[in-house]
């Protein structure tokens, strides 16, 4: 591993983490506000280390959803990591197996985006990815812990749990740049509004995500047909 490349990765990912701090704090806060202790919340964050699926897990566990629904929903949200794993595989394979396992555990959207961008001009993407991932992990876990500790002190009337959908919203907006993505997001959001409160065993979220994904695929086929 090249130390300089690791530092470069950490330096260049730092500006992207401005969003990760409120997201981590909100997730920690949401977790304790949903009835989990600081220790339970932190263990969840250490084991899973994936923001969106942590939120879904907390949300479902706190409403006593069956455990297979909780697992299936989290798995569906984290399926995207398969794509990331396949994409970074060519330049990470030179690292030792132990390091590769750690890099897999610490893989995030942020580190993936910054490492795979076209304008990368460094010498060793594996070290760059590792440096970026370590910083994301540290920032996320400390923000999460701060949020979960101070969440108990902040009065409910502040409605700070609302900061969580605001962060999701912020990450969703830049993705609305193609017609297919707009269709997928609109269908998923509408389905969530319809299904989440009404479908049994808290299966609304998983159904909504699948509706959105299939609508996106259908839209892609439809728009591509129009272009040919």
């Amino acid at each position: 591993m090249h130390k300089k490349e690791m530092i470069l990765g950490a330096k260049q990912i730092a500006p992207l983490l401005i969003g990760a701090i409120p997201f981590g704090m909100s997730t920690g806060l949401y977790s304790v506000e949903s009835g989990f202790s600081v220790f339970e919340s932190f263990m969840m964050s250490i084991f899973i280390f994936a923001g969106a699926s942590q939120v879904a897990t907390v949300s479902l566990l706190s409403t006593d959803a069956p455990f297979w629904i909780v697992i299936a929903t989290a798995a569906l949200i984290n399926l995207r990591f398969l794509i990331y794993s396949a994409t970074v595989s060519p330049f990470i394979h030179k690292a030792s197996r132990g390091l590769r396992t750690f890099m897999a555990y610490a893989m995030t959207d942020h580190a993936f985006i910054i490492t795979t961008r076209e304008k990368y001009t460094g010498q060793d993407r594996a070290s760059y990815f590792l440096g970026a991932s370590i910083l994301v992990w540290l920032v996320w876990q400390s923000s999460f812990l701060l949020g979960s500790i101070f969440g108990k002190i902040i009065p409910d009337s502040w409605s700070l749990e609302f900061s969580l959908p605001l962060v999701f919203l912020f990450f969703t907006v830049p993705l609305l740049k193609s017609k297919e993505n707009i269709v997928a997001a609109s269908v998923a959001a509408t389905s969530a509004i319809i299904f989440v409160p009404f479908l049994p065993i808290q299966s609304g979220l998983i159904v909504s995500i699948l509706c959105g994904a299939f609508a996106g695929i259908a839209a892609k086929k439809f728009f591509n047909k129009g272009r040919t």
């Binding site: 897990t57 697992i71 893989m107 912020f170 297919e180 997001a185 989440v196 409160p197 996106g216 892609k220």
Partner: protein, 109 residues
């Protein structure tokens, strides 16, 4: 859910997530993602984000009971507009939370 089942659930989710993340990295032999699977996975992230946002903005949930939350919907719409035009997380955050607090203190909903 008791403590044991909680930790088992969290451990399984962590393990599945690690398997997804490491599927093409950890094994010594390099593998590739099939085009069909890649095609299916393309819209999962945006759908997950949109579904989570909508569910948390549209409803207030307490003890498994969902209630429509007009103040959160109005604040969420304002935040959406700010996020779209400013592309600034801090501005989105301030406008969204500020609008919610203002609406709650006015007691309009």
């Amino acid at each position: 859910m008791d403590d044991t089942l909680f930790y088992i659930t969290v451990f399984i989710i962590g393990l599945i997530t690690l398997i997804f993340r490491g599927a093409f990295i950890v094994p010594d032999k390099a593998h590739h993602l099939s085009n069909k699977l890649e095609f299916f996975l393309e819209y999962i992230p945006i759908s997950a984000m949109a579904a989570l946002t909508a569910a948390h903005v549209f409803y207030t949930q307490s003890g498994g009971v969902y209630e429509v939350a007009p103040d959160k919907i109005a604040a969420g719409l304002l935040a959406f507009i700010v996020a779209y035009f400013s592309k600034n997380i801090l501005a989105t955050f301030i406008v969204g939370m500020g609008a919610l607090w203002a609406l709650q203190s006015l007691g309009l909903f």
